[in-house]
């Protein structure tokens, strides 16, 4: 029997080469690599867009672009960063690491996996194509409504909105397919002996993410489809003149949109404790408490959505409910923070690049979390809402909490994936440049928001000039620092010091029992967990 399996596997290894290998691959590592590469490319695309915006905001007055184009850049920046950079990065890690961590030969549904990835490039092209079409005089550019696509502004908008709607549909299908695959893999393909409560935390984070995606993506798909029929087929879902309500769109959108925040963060919360325990050389603190907290946050995330639009005018009981339910998210989140810090407490710490990012991530994501707690307050939110305070807040959660977390993961697993060590010195420089310029970019934005600068404006009053200038300069430093990251990854893929199987002294988990890089088919013998 075992002989037959071996022969079978050998046949699989004769995969096509060149471009056909990547187009037809069903191998989880190949697909994971494609996800991560796609994510990195789109991270640079979305980043360049916002550098255009920051250049325009460098000083008062319109210098570089018209307001129409400015509005397109901010909206597409957000859509690209959320759907094409952060989410694919998490899916890429899931593809690469889940089977390795739970002792599975591959993802459960490999063809679905391939399809899930190859939906992404067309979606990204759809999203950005209207920019190019506008150059040829077709349409008036990309979606200019912000990523939230609020009706009726989006009903009024040009063809960019239609492109965005179809792009969101494709991205949504891709996410749902990926989620199905993750759930099936985790529930069915764990190594013998690995009970759910012995699973790596990353698997837990992703399992909950996958459930959230399946629960909320269809709502978003429904909302944008209603938008499409309002635009072209004479329905009035969001038009009061026909008995509809513009606020319905906001309810539907944020029913997806708030869980989406946790969809972006839960995978990071999954692998971050693993990084912390590795570089603390100490077991993870409060495994069960963390798992229950992840579930609690997942459950709470679908019942707090209306705190994103407190200012639309809601009944007092609704305001109070959404305020207190939002505040209560801080409880399980505080448990997580407690466990993360207790994991490094009395460890034997060393600060390689992944650990630097992990510790920086706790601190900066903490700022995002605490400002979120303040934002939950309805009365104060009237001031914060749609001001730069909110912009700063969600960049602390999504850039520091999301992207810097992903970067920690990249440095942590890159030696395992490529078999080479990255340049440690460059990695550390990258961390410090990123952390400092990130704070220099967004701390001024907190003050801008408090002083009364609304978000999404292409030009501003003179009293906002100094902070905007500081923020713009730092944003360019932040953007340019990421070139170091790209360079470091490319050099690591091409060669470098050979990585050991275990890579890190304190590494724990099945992925570190395999060679670096792992063979094309990971486990020839199924591991068992005691």
């Amino acid at each position: 029997m075992s002989n037959a399996t071996a022969v079978h596997h050998d046949a699989h290894d004769a995969h096509p080469t060149g471009i056909m290998r990547w187009l037809t691959t069903t191998n989880h590592k190949d697909i994971g690599t494609m996800y991560l590469t796609f994510s990195l490319i789109m991270f640079l695309v979305g980043g360049s867009m916002i550098l255009g915006v920051r250049a325009e905001l460098f000083k008062p007055g319109l210098q570089l672009m018209r307001p129409e184009f400015f509005n397109q850049l901010i909206g597409v920046h957000a859509l690209v960063m959320i759907f094409a950079a952060l989410m694919p990065a998490a899916t890429g890690f899931a593809n690469w690491m889940l089977p390795l961590q739970i002792g599975a030969p591959d993802m459960a549904l490999p063809r679905l996996n391939n399809w899930g990835f190859w939906l992404l490039p067309p979606a990204a092209i759809l999203l950005t194509l209207p920019f190019t079409l506008a150059l040829f005089g077709i349409g008036d550019g990309a979606v200019a409504t912000g990523w939230t696509m609020y009706a009726p502004l989006s009903v009024q908008g040009g063809i960019g909105v239609d492109f965005a709607i179809f792009s969101v549909h494709l991205l949504g299908i891709s996410s749902v397919l990926g989620s199905i695959n993750v759930i099936v893999t985790i529930l069915n393909m764990r190594a013998p002996g690995m009970t759910l409560m012995k699973m790596p935390m990353f698997a837990w984070g992703w399992l909950i993410t996958a459930f959230l995606l399946i629960a909320t993506i269809p709502v978003l798909a429904g909302a944008v489809t209603m938008l499409l029929t309002d635009r072209h087929f004479g329905t009035h879902f969001f038009d009061a003149a026909g008995g509809g309500d513009p606020i319905l769109f906001q309810h539907l959108f944020w029913f997806f949109g708030h869980p989406e925040v946790y969809i972006l963060l839960l995978p990071v919360w999954g692998f971050m404790p693993q990084i912390l325990q590795t570089f603390s050389r100490k077991p993870m603190y409060g495994y069960k408490a963390q798992v229950y907290s992840l579930w609690a946050i997942g459950a709470l995330s679908v019942v707090v959505w209306a705190h994103h639009f407190f200012t639309v005018g809601m009944p007092v009981p609704a305001l109070l409910y959404f305020m207190y339910s939002t505040m209560s998210i801080s409880l399980p989140l505080a448990v997580l923070f407690y466990c993360w810090i207790a994991t490094i407490w009395k460890g034997s710490l060393s600060f390689e690049t992944p650990m630097l990012f992990a510790v920086g991530w706790i601190i900066l994501f903490g700022i995002g979390g605490l400002t979120g707690l303040v934002l939950a307050d309805v009365a104060a939110d009237a001031q914060y809402h749609h001001s730069y305070f909110v912009v700063a807040h969600f960049h602390y959660t999504l850039f520091a909490g999301g992207i810097m977390g992903i970067m920690a993961g990249v440095y942590y697993w890159l030696p395992k994936m490529t078999g080479h060590m990255y340049n440690e010195k460059l990695g550390k420089i990258h961390f410090w440049l990123t952390a400092i310029s990130f704070n220099m970019t967004f701390i001024p934005q907190f003050f801008l928001g408090l002083a009364g600068m609304p978000r999404r404006i292409p030009d501003y009053a003179l009293q906002f000039a100094e902070f905007n200038m500081i923020s713009s300069i730092a944003a360019f430093a932040l953007g340019l620092s990421q070139l170091l990251f790209v360079y470091n990854i490319i050099m690591c893929v091409r060669g470098g010091k050979k990585a050991t199987d275990k890579v890190w002294e304190g590494a724990q988990g099945l992925e570190w029992t395999l060679p670096s890089p792992p063979p094309y088919h990971s486990f020839t013998e199924q591991p068992t967990i005691k």
């Binding site: 008062p60 200019a144 009061a240 100490k282 810090i341 490094i344 009365a379 009237a382 009364g452 009053a461």
Partner: protein
């Protein structure tokens, strides 16, 4: 040599920063509150900021202690615990949880409750009602009660386009100035009703602490009671299209007697405008008046030169609508004629019947029919617009 250079450079940077700090207007917190609600919001905000700052610093302190002391390079041996094991440890893990519960629902939760109730109580003891209508990209104000009932006007950005395009130096209130200020009496509770004619806007004056969406097809409400006389400036803060950054709110809060004078003055102007609608105007006067109206209201989309921004905003030069007849043989207004389009709007084009008065509509139509290369030669009298109402 190198050290000397660094010292000099450092001194230079320090001086530059000091001079920047001396000239710059850095604001670190909410503007000085002018209403009870803003006062309340500021207190709530300051209190919460202190609380989260303390939480942050305590946690950061613990982390820094660990980072400094529990290092492999110092030979620190790792512990092996994976959770609280003794009873006292369990209690210690519950303490932060209890503190957070207290902060969330007592320390922050109770004042937050009172603020919400206060913010939403728009009706009790309200002295007057003002209706605010947002449209792309201007605000319209209408006094709904009291002496001022019937006063209504449009409030447009008054910053010249040349300042925005950096062709002229920017004024003191760049982008935060309008032609007609909303005037409110000091110390009166004003119930503000909000709606919109096109997309969602948000009426926001930071010093008032109130921000509320203006939603097409619905009424929303908020209230202000300005206690300190002065001029207050704010902006739309819901993305509403290309002019989102260019629809400021300016409110003058004046003492009661000044307010009465202002109301009387506005009433006189209203009567004059109404009389203007009944008299017969010459074409030259209509065109001169129309140019003014056009530049304030129409140029933002159709541009000063009438060339528009196709495809969203069509050109007026040679436009079929403008160069077509307005009245049929019986003197009835044709559907989709120039007057019908301006009066009732279509798609993105707003209906102006509630925003502009008869004279303004007649003037702007006459101006458009005889400008930008359009040579219709005819005119519309204010009385003909009045007849449509």
């Amino acid at each position: 040599m190198v050290m000397q250079f660094l010292k000099k450079a450092g001194l230079g940077v320090l001086l530059a920063m000091l001079s920047m700090a001396a000239h710059a207007e850095f604001t670190w917190n909410f503007p000085t509150p002018a209403t009870p609600m803003a006062m309340d919001t500021l207190h709530v905000h300051n209190k919460f900021m202190v609380i989260v700052m303390i939480i942050f610093l305590v946690v950061l302190g613990i982390m820094i202690y660990s980072i400094v002391n529990h290092r492999k390079s110092k030979g620190y041996k790792p512990a092996t615990f994976t959770g609280p094991s003794t009873r006292s440890q369990v209690i210690w893990t519950l303490v932060p949880f209890a503190i957070l519960l207290y902060i969330d629902f007592i320390l922050m939760g109770i004042p937050a409750y009172h603020s919400v109730v206060m913010m939403e109580d728009t009706k009790t003891n309200a002295d007057m009602v003002v209706k605010v209508t947002g449209s792309q990209w201007r605000w319209q104000y209408e006094y709904m009660s009291g002496d001022a009932q019937g006063i209504k006007f449009v409030s447009n950005l008054s910053t010249p386009q040349d300042q925005i395009d950096n062709k002229e130096p920017k004024g003191e209130h760049y982008l935060l100035e309008v032609d007609n200020h909303l005037v409110l009496p000091v110390g009166k509770k004003v119930r503000i009703l909000l709606t919109s004619t096109d997309v969602i806007h948000n009426w926001w004056v930071p010093a008032f602490g109130s921000a509320r969406d203006a939603i097409p097809g619905f009424l929303r409400e908020t209230w202000v009671r300005v206690d300190v006389p002065g001029t207050y400036r704010g902006q739309c803060k819901e993305l509403c299209g290309k002019g989102h950054g260019f629809m400021p709110v300016v409110v003058d809060a004046v003492p009661e007697d000044q307010y009465k004078v202002w109301v009387a003055d506005q009433k006189v102007k209203l009567a004059a405008a109404s009389a203007g609608a009944d008299k017969v105007w010459t074409k030259e006067d209509l065109i001169a008046n129309g140019k003014n109206v056009y530049e304030k209201n129409c140029a933002v989309c159709h541009q000063i030169t009438g060339t528009g921004l196709p495809p969203a905003f069509p050109s007026l030069a040679g436009s079929k609508v403008i160069n077509g007849p307005i009245f049929d043989a019986n003197g009835k207004v044709l559907k989709d004629s120039h007057l019908d389009r301006v009066f009732n709007g279509k798609n993105v084009m707003p209906a102006w019947k509630n925003t502009l008065n008869d004279t303004e509509i007649a003037s702007v139509i006459t101006y458009e029919r005889n400008s930008f290369g359009n040579k219709m030669g005819d005119m519309v009298q204010p009385s003909q617009v009045k007849a449509l109402r």
